[in-house]
Symmetry: C2
Subunit: 470 residues, 2 copies
């Protein structure tokens, strides 16, 4: 059988694969993209983009609940046609998918895109489902991930939604149990609730949105729990209910629902790759051990990038991993890259944010915690969004900023400010040299920083003026 020879083969044409492709192409290498699934990225098809679209509609439909305070009447006359809403969400999604396809896929010459699944025969020899064999100097695995649905629930699969099915719905069900309250469960759960779905939120953890700080978790649960019921601390069980419904039980709670939305995480797409031939150890998720700074698997000319690597399933990190893998696959010398400061945002209302080191990762002995409730922040009051809690962490001795967790309006923006300060290894005193405009939500950060400043020893480490000492 004829074997096609290529410099670099990239398995998977999602975000990571496309970044890797672009990087490898720029190096002048011959490259092929191999993808047997639907084209378009997880981000655009079922992730970041369509979720933000439905969240925006939900927020806009929810907001008029406070209009009466402002002298605005007629809110009860507003109605929503969920079929129209879903059509809007799908149109928006299609726009973003088209954009990706237009800029990255459509113009590829046929020899650079193989629409097929493939498996490893050797570390540098691949075979497609059609039997085509490809010998590559380097291979990049960028096959993405798939929503987890536990085996025990497979018999209810027709009534279980994941993000793969959710954005295809023609309308929303009347009642849904959201199982798993991480980023996706919270975002979609709260959005459905605000669009009129009877939502029950369930998680076996005692926290939501990945918050590790108990006080911040408490504030988030209290705030979002005022909108929709949150059942925490018990695993969910599903059984057959009446009239075709599903009965979902967690601890003492039980509810019958039309659908379950399963947001229990995603598993790497590795099953079909025949990874055994790589001869490298894998972690407990079946992911081959690799260096997150080079994306290289062992000493092989094989790299891994994006959600499938299990490192940081977020678009900007998938992009970095794709670029790192593409860069290293194109060169003889492997280069290690510094990864970015951790940044996690849940686009719930209020936003849930984690930047840098999480509370759980820090030593309480050496860490100071600066706190500010959102309630008294002037702008939050004016926005009628005055719920939440901001916690910022710093090293007690040096005053160096380490991380933060918060549930706060405009948290997505405060997160970017904090990630810059933490990336720059700034101290509390230095960050307080920043002008904070009045009245903004950034003043909530400022108040938390002032609280933190009182607790750290190094008041003025670094090149700062005396202003904050006054």
């Amino acid at each position: 059988m004829e074997v096609r020879s290529i410099d670099i083969a990239i398995i998977g044409a999602g975000s990571a694969g496309l970044y890797a492709f672009s990087k490898a192409k720029h190096s002048g290498k011959s490259v092929v993209l191999i993808d047997g699934g639907e084209l378009g990225t997880t981000c655009c098809r079922v992730g970041c983009m369509p979720s933000k679209a439905i969240i925006q509609v939900a927020e806009d439909f929810h907001r008029p609940a406070i209009f009466h305070r402002f002298g605005i009447a007629g809110r009860e006359q507003l109605s929503i046609d969920l079929a129209e809403t879903m059509e809007y969400v799908q149109d928006t999604r299609d726009h973003f998918v088209d954009q990706v396809l237009t800029t990255s896929i459509d113009d590829l010459p046929p020899e650079q895109l193989i629409e097929s699944n493939c498996k490893f025969l050797e570390p540098t020899l691949l075979e497609t489902d059609e039997g085509e064999r490809i010998r590559a100097n380097a291979v990049i695995i960028a096959t993405g991930s798939t929503p987890i649905v536990p085996k025990a629930w497979h018999r209810f699969r027709d009534r279980i939604l994941t993000t793969d099915e959710f954005f295809e719905l023609e309308t929303l069900p009347a009642s849904v149990a959201v199982i798993g309250l991480g980023v996706i469960g919270l975002e979609i759960g709260q959005a459905m609730h605000r669009l009129g779905v009877a939502v029950s939120g369930i998680d076996q953890l005692q926290t939501i949105g990945g918050i590790s700080d108990p006080k911040v978790a408490h504030a988030a649960i209290e705030t979002i729990g005022k909108e929709l019921p949150l059942w925490l601390g018990h695993p969910a069980e599903i059984s057959e209910g009446a009239n075709g419904k599903l009965r979902v039980t967690a601890g003492e709670h039980s509810v019958e629902v039309d659908k379950v939305f399963a947001s229990l995480g995603r598993r790497p797409n590795l099953d079909k790759l025949n990874l055994d031939v790589l001869g490298v150890p894998c972690n407990d998720k079946g992911i081959p051990e690799h260096n997150p700074n080079t994306m290289q698997i062992g000493d092989l000319p094989v790299f891994i990038a994006g959600d499938v690597s299990g490192n940081r399933p977020i678009l900007h990190e998938a992009g970095d991993e794709g670029r790192i893998a593409g860069y290293n696959a194109s060169r003889d010398q492997i280069v290690a890259f510094k990864r970015r400061t951790p940044l996690h945002i849940t686009f719930s209302d209020p936003n849930i944010v984690r930047v840098g080191a999480s509370f759980a990762e820090l030593d309480p002995e050496t860490t100071a915690v600066g706190a500010m409730r959102v309630a008294p922040v002037g702008r939050a009051l004016i926005m009628a969004r005055n719920r939440g809690l901001i916690h910022i962490y710093a090293d007690k001795a040096s005053g160096k900023l380490l991380g933060c967790e918060m549930v706060a309006p405009a948290g997505e923006h405060l997160a970017h400010l904090m990630v810059l300060a933490i990336s720059q290894q700034m101290t509390v005193g230095q960050l307080l040299q920043l002008p904070f405009y009045h009245p903004t939500m950034e003043e909530g950060l400022q108040a938390a920083l002032r609280d933190l400043y009182r607790q750290v020893q190094a008041k003025n480490a670094g090149p700062i003026t005396e202003l904050e000492k006054l």
Copy 2:
């Protein structure tokens, strides 16, 4: 006549005066606050806070205009009772004023607050309207400012609103000409328009919101000009109209309106202070020459702080000036303080922002301009707020960030990120090491930074990884 002796006399109990008072008190000095006007700060009574309150209502009432795109019907059933709205704004204002009074004024012992105007008899001798004389070791002038209404318009004064009158209105007029499209004119003008007032916006400049970059100005004028008519480039003239209305003419345009909103700037409150006795030179606005890093006037034990100083009429700068003046008035040795990086936000929709050096201040020969339109930013599209333009300035050779001007949704937050980066003297390459979360408005900044990065010579100045070089 008996003369009261005191360490520090502060004339004016607004934001700057209160900060100065607090700082001086902490030093253990005897201090007196002298204020003959209404207590409560400009910020709370007629500035930042009530303006944000009415802007929020206006934005919420305006937003449903796009609801039909999302499948939400009934928008035309929404109605607003402007008397209720103004009552809400006034209640909100009163809440913030009460907060200031409660925390700063109410508990003052009577000997620390003199409710009277006063004037200088000597640089350290004051006399109140009631004839009380106060000899102070140091005096701080913090008398604030007053909206400008040109003399020629005084005969129409009953139909001219400034911020002093606006927030007292029981309802809004049917038609208003807003003269002066700086921060206040734009904010209040757009808010009134969105609340149903027929607003004409007029400015003799060819820009709005203090934008100095012609392209950014063009984008702002185009965007906001789609909502309400903006007549630029000609001074406004007022004459008597029909039926008690005012006729306002600017260049070729003319309109009859119920009221004029005059937002032409503010003049320092200095008239009654008898400043001649200080024997120091004044600038063309009558403001005594002083050092903006110490707030000292000449070599006198007299300091100036807040809006009256004419430096930076913004709350956080007034606070700084008050603290600097209070600090220096309390000590024998005068200390110079570094002032914060300039930060200007107009809370129009989209926000108008200027950070660091303005375009006009920069040398086009040595400055690179990174640009990004808001339209293609994914999140802006999802928010249905996809109008605006971001310009970021850097030194061509060193890549050091110098400033930015923009008109953009969430501009208030992007401004804080930019002011931190500029304050830290970061390069474009360094700022691009920041993780930018997807999909956020911060990605608009990222795109402008990438455009800028292509134009600067120093690609990797500073301790950065190679990620952005890929």
